[in-house]
Each structure stands twice: as C-alpha cells, then as structure tokens.
Symmetry: C2
C-alpha cells in the first residue's frame, strides 16, 4: 500500500518567484527516504482562503506538511488555518510563550529600537497551539507543530535552517512514527552519464530487456550531464542491478558515477589522491568560474594552487606566458592557445596539472569559423599527459560558461584516471 | 475585480527535487506584469490522476497554465488530460504532424541510431490536439496549446527556452487577450537596499505614515540585500511615491536602486562610463568567483582586464606582488594584505581599479581572532581612492563566498561614484 503526502509551501515571496522554495525539494527527498510518495507540492501566497483551499485539496492524502507562515506578524497565518482545518481550537501555551519570549529577548540585543510591546504580542501569537497538537521547539524563534488528525499536519517554519532540524524532531512524534512504519523503506540509486544525448537514454529505456515496472525511474539533463534516479522497493533490487548493468553495457566509460557521486566529488577525491595532484587554471571566457568551481569545496586549498583570468590577448601573454606570435598565427581561440594557457598555468603556479580555457561565450564575438559557443579547453598533466577538446556548446552566455566548466571537470577526471594508472605502472 | 490564475508544473523530476522549477517563478512575474494575480503553483508528478486532480483544484480560477508533459514518450500526458478536463476530444492535426516530423528529422541527423518508426510515433502523438484548441508552434519539438473553456488552459512545454517564447505567442490568442483586457494593468516597482537588517525594514513598514492598503508589498532578503517589490493599481501611484520617499528618507544612501536595477547592472554601467574604468582582481577565499561575477555580463571584456586566484601565501607573493614580510607580520587575512592584493592586481593588469579579497570561507581555518566568515576586502582606485572593509559574514562556505562578492560589488559602486565625482570636480 502506497503512503502519500502533500506539501504546502506558503509565502507570497515564494509564490511571486522572488525567492526560490528550497523546502519542497528537500522534504521531497526526505519523504522518498522514508518510502512515502509525494503527490503534490502546492505553493500559495499569504492569503487565508488559498491556504485553506490547499489543505482541503490535500485532505485525502496520508500526511500534509506545511512550511512558512509561523512568524510573529499578522500575515503569518498557518497555525490558525491548520487548527481550523483539523477542527482543533487554538489555545495559549503559557510555558511556550515564556520560552519564545526568552529567545526573542536574547536576539533583541542585536537590534536597536525593537519595542518591548511588539515583542510580547509576537510571542503570545506564536504560543497559540491547536488543542492536542505536539509542539516542536523553535530552532529560530518560531515553534512548529505536529497536529494529529486524518491526515496529520506537520507545521514547520519557512527558513530551511529551522525547518530541517525541526523535521527530524517531528519524525520522532507518534503520528509520524505511525506513518513511516506503514510506509516501509524504498531504495534510491543514482547513475550519472556524460556525453550521451537524452534521446539515446530514452531509447535504451524503451528497448532494454529488463522488467521496469517495479522501478520508478526519473531521468534528467543537468548542466550537460544525464542523471538517472531510480526508486524501488528492496524486493526489486535485482531488477535495478539488471538495469544498471544494461546502462553500463551500453554507455561504458560515459557512466561516470553509479553511486550518485557528482563529477565535482569524484575529481576532488582523485586530486586528493594519494598522491595529491596540484592544479592551476588559466581561463579566458569562463572568467574565473573554473577556478571558482574547483575551490567550491572545503579543503580545496590542498590541491588548487591558483589561477589567472586572462581575458585580453595582452593578459594571456603577460600572465599566462602565451607566445604572442602564436596568438597572431592561430588566434586566441584555438587548441594551441588552450594548451599554452594550460602549460603556462601549470608552470607559473608549479602545479602538476594545468587547465587552459579560451572561447567565445557570446552573445557577441562569434565569426563563421569561430562561432559563439566554441570553446577550446586543455588539461595538461600530470606529467606529459595532455587532453584537448574543442567544444561547440549551445545556449546563452551563462550556459556556455557553465557547461565549459563541466566539460573540463570530465577531462580532469580522465587525466587523473590516466595519470593514476601511469603512476601505478 | 481580481483576475486570478493557477499554474500546474508537471514532472516527477521537478516534484522529486531533482531539477528546480524555473517556469513557476517566471510565469508568476509575467502574470504580475499583466495584472493577473497568481493564486497557486501546484507541482505534480507524471501521474494522470494527480494531474487531473490539480486541474480540478484550480478550476474556479480565471486561467490555468501548465508546463511540461508534452514530449513524445508515454509518460507525457498533459495534452490528453487537459483535453479530458476541458471536455474536448483529441483529434489528429495532420499538417502539425508533418511539421513536427520535419523538425524531428532535422534534429535526428545529430544522433546516430534514432529509429524512423519511433520518430513517426512520437510526431503523431504530439500532433493530437483537443477540439477547438489553438496550436502554439513548437520552439523546440513540442507544440503547445491554448484550450478555450472556463477557465481556458494554456499548455506549454517544460524547457524554459521553449516555454518563454511560446507564452508570448499564447498572449496574442483571443482567450488570453480577453483575460488580460479584464485584468487591467498593475504597476510593479522594485527598490533594493544594502546594509539594513530585515527587522529594520519591517519596523519601518509597520510605523510608516503612508496608507499601505492599496500596495501589495513583498520584502525579501537575497544574497545579503533587501528587495522591496511592490505591485499596485496605477490609481495608487501617489501612495507608492510616499512609501518610496519614506524608505529613502529612513535608509538614505543604502537604498541603492529605485528602478529595480541590480547592483551588477549598476556597477557595469558605472564601469562603462564614459570614461571606462578598467578593473582587475586578486582573490583568495572567493577563488575566482569575484572575477566570474564581474565577467557574467556580455561586454564585460571592455572593463575586466583579468584576475588572479591566489590561495596560498606563495601565490600571493608570486602572482599579486604581496610582500612576504607583510604576510609574516600581519597574516594573510588582514586589511593590509587585502590592500596589497588590490594594488598588486591593478599594477599587474594596468587596471584603474584593483580588487583584493582575502578571508576564511570555512568550514575549517578559523581562529578566535580570525573566525570563519572573516573576510578582508579592498577596492583600490580609481586614482588614490581606497575603500577597505573587514566583513564578518554568517553562513556556510558557499554563502560566505557569495556574500563577499556582493559586498565587493557595493564597494565598487561607492568607489566609482566617488571616482566619478572626483573626475568631474
């Protein structure tokens, strides 16, 4: 039997697209881990009737989770509307009121001028609890609720940093324990593939000689890579293994991850070795994003020695040691200059591996021979190894720049796998 | 009279949080521009019953827009379910079938092995049109639909690059023209503020002596800046002017944008002058993101001369000309080194303005004197101008790095405004 949940995300700023909802996707993943199927995410503004209508819409499900609308101000309505939906009148919890007041008073010292009176009114509002509901202690200033009923409603605050730990607390309450015991547990696995068009994957899934009816397969194209996420009952584990084998059989090396690890994680782990391989970047059209991506991870200072952003030809010559005659002869966007940038970066920073990137991110600057989206990349090292690619990337400036960094991450992986083999041999 | 719309976003990959929905926020903004109030965004998976339930839930509104589920494969169900919802049987449009087939055949040359038969089946499926519906010509491969009824349903494909131009086409169809003529037009204005806590803004809005009941005000904190977006009927323009005046009166200079321009747009425009001010970066903890942000915009090669990413002390000395004795004396994370980086960057790239960034992005590397989140930044130039800040930023590594670039953009704006004044004087 499938246990199903719905999520209501409240907040005009989310509905109007001003801020992105991070709670729906996060809760979705949590539910999947519990074997609970997510039916819908409904985003509503701070309007009482719309919130109530969303709750009514989800009333047939086994569980409702709300996020947002728990603050001290008048437009924070969730507790009141949920109480009404559950048929449980609101009552003041005086001990909770004192705890909220204590939190708010502590914070208050950080801001001048917040009024005593406003603070007390807010704490009182936040301490109104539907009869029989379980209070989730505030992580920020707002308490959450688990409101029993059918379905039970878990009421959580909007800030992700508060919602996430309070969700963990909610899981330990009797209504949630009861639901997760009914749900069982599903497995989730992720494969990642680079360099394969989505249609090829669709064809494989259509034709593959594996029973797929017990696997919930979701494929998607992200930053130029294909991701296959599959959810299944542990009883269907053999079906998943057969699917995985078929995918690897068809796409070989291009399946770069079978355990969900991202290319960034894989490259970081290869760079860290042992032995550690140091890396330096000389980049033109990506303008710092390649170095920025390599340094995204904590601990990257162990292997990223540095980089130069060399937009102009003069900068390429002065700061990456590119021969000006070479640029004059073959042009700045060329495999030769990409290699010169890679070698220059490695030499200047004394790195084991140099990365060179030169291309036309657009929208201007393209020619018939070197159109927008043409990017020459090179990974030089470790040792004498050298991998070049001339990419022709679709999309706008931001996409071309981003896809370039993804392509280089994959070249870096190849270089490191080859380098590791060579070192071991 | 308020005209209201609902959006249904379909796709298991969106519901499961694997990809982020970009269509809801975009359509939300479009609707606001038309004076149409968005009531709900419902995200559903590729399950026919859930999609139908979502349409039924939104049936009382004046307009429904769907995104996704228009592909050639079996799990693409939107056209069929919407036809059923609208009570309009599906029929084959043979001319559309030929047009889709022509598009798909062209694309096919890019991929080996796609089967003729599969292609024809897909095109036939995509050419099934509800009776009386208006076809929106494909931008990618999938046609969209405007299905008349009450409410009318606009059926759009999922990829944002296809959805957006097709939405423009949909606007010109009679059902949408009728709806937007009923809606009237609302004004939307955006103010942006830097360096003010959200609670201060909340207090101003609570106490301000301006009638706010005709203004729909949404405030939010984004990348460390406050945004105030206000939607109002043109008749309430005076109320908005009074609000704007009150905000500027209270926060002064910190209101850096009254026309919605972002700090990136403002800085780009100041750098472009005339006169053009050139800029170069030497960055440590941001690892390339500062240069990456400055080069995000097309045409940035006119003012960004380059940058260096100097993580290690050796790199700071070798590639940004920082005096090693200075680092030994005051430490790498210090206002002195930030200034040395800024001057070094300007000197090495012969730029009018140098930016220096050195800090502790975390999670490791903090000490009691120099905790995680402490970042020293400096903008040196134009001329002898110099602005330093020692920031203490909250949040994780990614947040610290991102907020640092925002803070530097604001310092750059100040430097340029001061520089412009000095040049004019």
């Amino acid at each position: 039997v499938t246990v199903r949940a719905g999520i209501v995300v409240t907040g005009t700023e989310v509905l109007s697209g001003i801020i992105r909802d991070e709670n729906g996707p996060w809760l979705s993943e949590q539910l999947r881990g519990l074997g609970i199927e997510l039916a819908d995410v409904v985003v509503v503004g701070d309007r009482p009737d719309d919130l109530r209508a969303a709750l009514d819409f989800l009333a047939d499900l086994d569980l409702i989770i709300t996020s947002g609308g728990l603050g001290p101000t008048a437009d924070d309505l969730t507790a009141e509307i949920v109480a009404d939906f559950a048929g449980r009148p609101l009552g003041l919890d005086p001990a909770l009121e004192q705890r909220v007041l204590a939190i708010v008073s502590r914070l208050r010292t950080r801001f001048r001028d917040s009024s005593e009176e406003g603070m007390r009114a807010g704490a009182r509002k936040q301490a109104l609890v539907p009869e029989g509901a379980i209070v989730l202690e505030p992580v920020g200033t707002a308490p959450g609720l688990v409101v029993p009923g059918s379905p039970p409603v878990v009421v959580l605050p909007g800030p992700p940093g508060e919602l996430r730990p309070m969700w963990e607390t909610a899981l330990a309450t009797p209504p949630l324990r009861e639901i997760s015991s009914r749900a069982g547990t599903l497995e989730q696995r992720i494969m990642r593939i680079a360099g394969v068009p989505e249609s090829e994957l669709a064809r494989l899934l259509r034709d593959v000689d594996v029973p797929l009816d017990r696997l919930e397969i979701t494929t998607c194209l992200r930053r130029g890579e294909l991701e296959i996420a599959t959810v299944f009952d542990p009883a269907a584990a053999d079906d998943y293994s057969a699917l995985e084998a078929a995918v690897v059989d068809r796409f070989g090396e291009r399946v770069f991850s079978r355990d969900g690890a991202t290319i960034d994680e894989i490259v970081a782990s290869l760079l860290l070795g042992p032995p550690v391989y140091t890396v330096a970047v000389a980049e033109s059209c990506t303008g710092g994003l390649m170095a920025g991506r390599l340094t995204d991870r904590a601990g990257s200072s162990a292997y990223v020695l540095g980089g130069v952003v060399v937009y102009s030809n003069e900068a390429k010559v002065a700061h990456a040691g590119v021969d000006p005659d070479l640029i004059a002869r073959v042009g700045a966007v060329s495999p030769e200059v990409a290699f010169a940038l890679a070698s220059g970066a490695a030499a200047r920073f004394s790195a084991a591996i140099g990365i060179g990137i030169t291309g036309i991110a657009g929208p201007g600057g393209g020619t018939p021979e070197k159109p927008v989206g043409m990017v020459c990349v090179c990974v030089a090292g470790p040792g004498d190894a050298r991998i070049d690619r001339t990419l022709q990337l679709p999309g706008d400036r931001a996409t071309v720049r981003d896809r370039t960094t993804t392509a280089v991450m994959h070249l870096l992986r190849r270089a490191l796998l080859a380098g590791g083999t060579a070192a071991a041999a």
